[in-house]
């Protein structure tokens, strides 16, 4: 509600009867449902009963009192007076929302609406109506909080959804790779058995030196460790993932994934070209997630080249330091490449052109890289095929 009608009454009263307001004006003033006060030189000339009760004062206690007592602090009083004075001069009225102080020292939100009695005559003062808006403020705050909470929940749901997609994609990769992985495991285990059986035969015949045995047993141990590491990788991919950020050698991750996919590579006769930065970049990442990115991109590349002529099958992995301590990894294949129309869709979840693809691989890759503060992009390989590129922040060596 504005103070304009009251001012109008005051003015009218002044015109008709310069000293005293009319009886109706006084009635209206006293019994208005709204707190009203007449201020001059930052002093309350008069106020109605409603204003007194609003601030916790008794009848007449505020008359001729300085406004400072209604403000939370002296500096509030000064600042508010300065800005409202300017506004009243400029436009004759002003509206302020701020905290005010009751007699007992408690603070509450008010809306103050001021109206100059006569703009050309600042000494005539201004009339103010004051409304307690604590309830509205409270509601607004509650709403803001609820909104923030909702957004947080949404973000959490989105994050969990991303995690579920990532896990589904990991499980699917592992189930599709089961055969190849069995082969990948069979190889080191068979080698280990060969070494050990050979040792047994020789021990029976007594025709070997202990250095010979030592060398062979070391090799057997090494192969058993290879097998163990494959089992660990698979386990990491299928078990529920607990996010964990660690300083990791990016090249080691690339090596791990190439190893895990080596059977598929040999089967397709894909040649490998590694152009890795001379200094192995250390990145602060969730190692499993970056493994998953590498696995998806390399698998996509192999799958893309399955139909290329055999002599053309070449996978190139490049790592390159960028300015600002970042590192860029590029995975290029010589498959059919990706059409400009498809480029806008391949990162969408569920977009796939493969018979039994889930279409999750690239969507998951992109969300993982973005959550690491990087970006994943596709380009065409100038030599034919597709090329996927992402960047990560490295840990600067001290």
């Amino acid at each position: 509600m504005s103070a304009a009608p009251v001012v109008e009454l005051l003015r009218r009263a002044e015109r008709q009867e310069p000293r005293r307001p009319s009886y109706e004006a006084s009635l209206l003033f006293e019994h208005a449902a709204m707190a009203i006060g007449h201020v001059r030189d930052r002093q309350l000339q008069r106020c109605n009963r409603r204003l007194e009760t609003l601030f916790g004062y008794g009848p007449g206690e505020l008359n001729q009192r300085n406004l400072q007592m209604l403000y939370p602090s002296y500096s509030d009083y000064v600042a508010c007076g300065r800005s409202s004075g300017r506004q009243l001069e400029r436009q004759g009225s002003c509206r302020i929302e701020r905290l005010m102080r009751r007699r007992d020292g408690s603070l509450f939100w008010c809306q103050l609406s001021g109206q100059a009695v006569d703009v050309s005559r600042p000494s005539a003062g201004s009339v103010w109506t004051i409304e307690d808006i604590s309830a509205r403020k409270q509601a607004e705050n509650a709403l803001r909080e609820a909104q923030a909470q909702l957004e947080q929940q949404l973000a959490e749901i989105r994050r969990r959804h991303q995690e579920d997609l990532a896990r589904a994609s990991r499980l699917n990769s592992m189930s599709e790779m089961a055969g190849a992985l069995a082969h990948e495991l069979a190889q080191p285990l068979a080698a280990t058995l060969n070494y050990l059986h050979g040792c047994q035969l020789r021990l029976k015949q007594g025709d070997c030196t202990s250095e010979q045995l030592d060398g062979v047993i070391s090799r057997a141990i090494q192969h058993t460790e290879t097998a163990g590491s494959i089992v660990r990788q698979v386990h990491g991919f299928v078990r529920r993932h607990v996010p964990e950020t660690t300083a990791t050698d990016l090249h080691a991750l690339i090596g791990d994934m190439l190893g895990l996919l080596d059977h598929q590579r040999r089967k397709l006769g894909v040649r490998l070209e590694l152009l890795l930065a001379p200094a192995p970049p250390t990145v602060m990442v969730d190692a499993l997630e970056i493994r998953q990115v590498l696995l998806n991109l390399i698998r996509n590349a192999y799958e893309a080249m399955a139909t290329s002529p055999a002599e053309q099958r070449l996978l190139r992995i490049e790592s390159r330091p960028l300015a600002g301590g970042r590192v860029e990894v590029t995975i290029s294949d010589r498959g059919p490449g990706i059409s400009p129309e498809a480029c806008s869709q391949i990162f969408d979840a569920y977009f796939t052109t493969k018979q039994d693809g889930l279409g999750l691989g690239l969507a998951v890759c992109r969300s993982i890289i973005e959550s690491h503060g990087g970006s994943l992009r596709v380009a065409s390989n100038p030599e034919g095929g597709a090329c996927f590129r992402f960047d990560l922040n490295t840990v600067m060596n001290p």
Binding site: L201, V216, R266
Partner: protein
């Protein structure tokens, strides 16, 4: 007429070798250790092409072959060896999913296979069998080679008489059939026995009938 190099193969057998062809370094190295521990002579190659470069028709022993390799695959190598008249028995070590390929290859000849992961006792036994098979077929081929050489040394008349005799006719019947005297038949018969290197009639019969049944 057979190729000249095959003649040397037949006449001068070399020591049996187990040729291991596998692109995986660990498999090659560990198989070498195992087979040498079993006192076998081993030679390893990292690809089918590498093996073809060293394979000689007089190679004797057997071939232990990985099915999946970059470049020529195991079965492709087998075809190439057949084309080059290299008759080594082949033992395929097949991985997951290779069975159809191997079964296809088995139609092509002296082929055995073991599925990975296999039992090493089994591997050694199969290699032993392959080596025996190679020795036997080499022996058979040598006999067949000598037989055909000797047959070529017979005159037309001796050849005629040999066929009759092997068909079970007596000297008298042969003489009557060919309108020559019993004595002449007997003389021819003695000469052809000598040329064929047969000490007795039974040996001659076995050489001719056994030889005909033999397949290489």
């Amino acid at each position: 007429m057979k190729a000249a190099n095959e003649m040397t193969e037949i006449l001068t057998p070399s020591r049996s070798t187990v040729f291991v062809v596998d692109d995986d370094t660990a498999m090659r190295d560990s198989l070498r250790w195992l087979l040498e521990s079993a006192q076998l002579n081993v030679q390893t190659c990292d690809s089918a092409e590498a093996f073809l470069a060293i394979a000689r028709p007089d190679a004797c022993g057997c071939l232990v072959l990985d099915v999946q390799m970059p470049g020529l695959s195991g079965p492709e190598l087998m075809d190439e060896l057949k084309r080059r008249h290299i008759h080594l028995p082949i033992l395929f070590l097949s991985g997951h999913g290779d069975i159809p390929t191997v079964v296809q290859a088995m139609k092509g000849g002296a082929v055995d296979f073991l599925q990975k992961p296999y039992d090493n006792a089994q591997l050694l036994e199969r290699i032993g069998q392959a080596l025996t098979l190679d020795a036997d077929s080499r022996d058979a081929r040598r006999r067949e080679f000598l037989r055909s050489q000797r047959l070529e040394g017979l005159t037309a008349r001796e050849r005629e008489i040999l066929d009759q005799v092997v068909a079970g006719r007596s000297n008298k019947e042969v003489g009557r059939k060919l309108a020559i005297s019993y004595k002449t038949v007997e003389a021819h018969r003695g000469r052809l026995m000598r040329k064929m290197g047969a000490a007795s009639f039974a040996e001659l019969l076995q050489m001719m009938l056994g030889g005909r049944r033999e397949t290489i």
